[in-house]
Amino acid sequence: MNQFVPPEIDWAALSPVLIVLGLAVVGVLVEAFVPMRARRATQVVLAVVGVGAALVAVAWRWVVVQDEGPTAVVAGALREDAPALLAQAILLVCAFVGLLVIADRSSGEDAFAPAAAAIPGSAYEAEARKAGLAQTEVFPLTMFAVGGMLVFPAAADLLTLFIALEVLSLPLYLLAGLARRRRLLSQEASLKYFLLGAFSSAFFLMGIALLYGYSGSVRFDELATAVPATSGLDGMLLAGVLLVIVGLLFKVGAVPFHSWVPDVYQGAPTPITGFMAACTKIAAFAALLRFVYVVVPGLQWDLTVALWVIAILTMIVGTVLAVVQTDMKRMLAYSSVAHAGFLLLGVIALVPSGISSVLFYLLAYGLATVGAFGLLTLVRERDADGNVTGEALHLSQWAGLGRRHPVLAVCFTLFLISFAGIPLTGGFIGKFLVFGAAIEGGAWPLVVIAVLASAAAAFFYVRVIVLMFFTEPAGTDADPGTTVVRTEGLTAVAVVVCAIGTVLLGVLPGPILDLTASATKFML
């Protein structure tokens, strides 16, 4: 009989994850014991301090790993290496600004339903709103999601990866259904996200089962050594690897697994959309990179066709469908699909610079995304009585915004040109690096398509810029129809941080490039 050996647990290496998940648990206890009036402030402080502390812990571990080299943690379930830590740092930066937007109460109300169990349009809902109720559970839920995302890039076995996937997904399903306005749309988004997410989890699990059947292990390193050694079961191996990749591609929203993206991005509360658009993509791409770079190299010939087709479809479908959108959130959703396609180029490249370029791209994309969605929360409609209501999301409502609110419009323009990949922004450097890595990896036909898709994508970004600055506003000066609400300050801070980050990444990318350049190899 095998003797049970308790695993060595390196608590220091786990500290970022433990801080975030620990404070999420504390957040649940706060919901239970702190009186209602003090809850929101407590939760905001806990969440912001937690993410900040985790960021410090990641920085500390980065220094340690630079000195002592990468290690396997918790009996090999996690890897603490440069790409994992860098992905976690990028994730925490985006989660931090995302949290600021989530916490903000512009025009006196947060973006979430006062009582999520109220039937939309019922008297109870109106009562709850009047009483000023708030679902402060949003903060612990977000922290749990961040915790799962932190494990995702470091996971080195398929079961840990699966558990992290669920830990990050389940809170997001719930958060997607909590929008204060357009409740039915939000609930629909939540249900769609949940059903399709459960569906993709099933694919993922089936892939794990097949890979276990093939190699007798769920660990990446053992899979990697089993790939060339075992012959005669290639069908099982290929199907398993493809199913696992499909599960991850679903999370990043690559075509043909993107159908949930526009509906969920549109229905979810806008701060949550920004948070999950940035952070889920960072976590999922980091995990995809590790899986592809560690397990797949031996399968390059068999998988290239599938990955190429997916990347091409993702870039083209995302770009073409973004052109025809009239809703701001849906347009950004399809643009994020197109970005997933560009990022896939770095994954397909299978060269060391692919890892660092994707990480840089993710940082640039994440900052611009949180900033852009943060600004969307501020541009609102007015009803006939002049009361501020929901967000003004139709493109036509943004006409002439640049004349009335130049600062906001300039910031939004900045994020859009970063998305478009125009020089002097982070998006340009990111695209440049990823395309360069793809050429190095011999995928130049993909790069040609990507450059054409970027050029086409510039059309709909520039269209919004033209709309804001060079179009006559719709309403009169007395009744503009569209209004910009005052923030509590948190969204403003987040947007400014994102804007400065976007510019710095474009103008002075040196320090960050040095960081990403040291993250070019996954520990087996």
């Binding site: 049970f4 308790p6 648990v25 649940v28 206890l29 919901e31 239970a32 014991f33 009582a115 169990a117 109220a118 039937i119 349009g121 019922s122 008297a123 109870y124």
Partner: protein, 120 residues
């Protein structure tokens, strides 16, 4: 036996036959005398839809009972194998189990404090 997986296939086939066969048989030969109770949702608490507008809050009592059950259900599922191999797992197992018990108590405390255990 050529392939060791053939018994598994046969078992799968039998399971499918049993499941589909049972439903089909009761649909074909069972008596059909419906009344209001019989066509109601079976063992699923309240009618999930549709709600009348202005009905107030979505009734969640039944779901709360179900979720409370899951908390303790999962707890016991993990306690049994732990208890069986308690001696072998020793100190590590004990600490891990206390950690697990603490984490599973947190949602229960949340439920209790927020009135999830009051029926009305």
């Amino acid at each position: 036996m050529t392939n060791p997986y053939i018994p598994l296939l046969i078992m799968g086939g039998l399971a499918l036959l049993l499941g589909v066969g049972g439903l089909a048989a009761s649909a074909v030969i069972g008596p059909k005398r419906y009344n209001k109770i019989k066509v109601d949702a079976y063992e699923c608490g309240i009618q999930p839809s549709p709600h009348s507008i202005g009905a107030g809050r979505f009734p969640i009592k039944y779901y709360i009972v179900a979720m409370t059950f899951i908390i303790f259900d999962i707890e016991v599922v993990f306690l049994y194998p732990w208890a069986v191999s308690f001696a072998e797992l020793a100190g590590f197992g004990l600490i891990a189990m206390f950690g697990f018990l603490f984490l599973i108590t947190v949602p229960f405390v949340y439920e209790w404090r927020r009135g999830g255990l009051d029926w009305d």
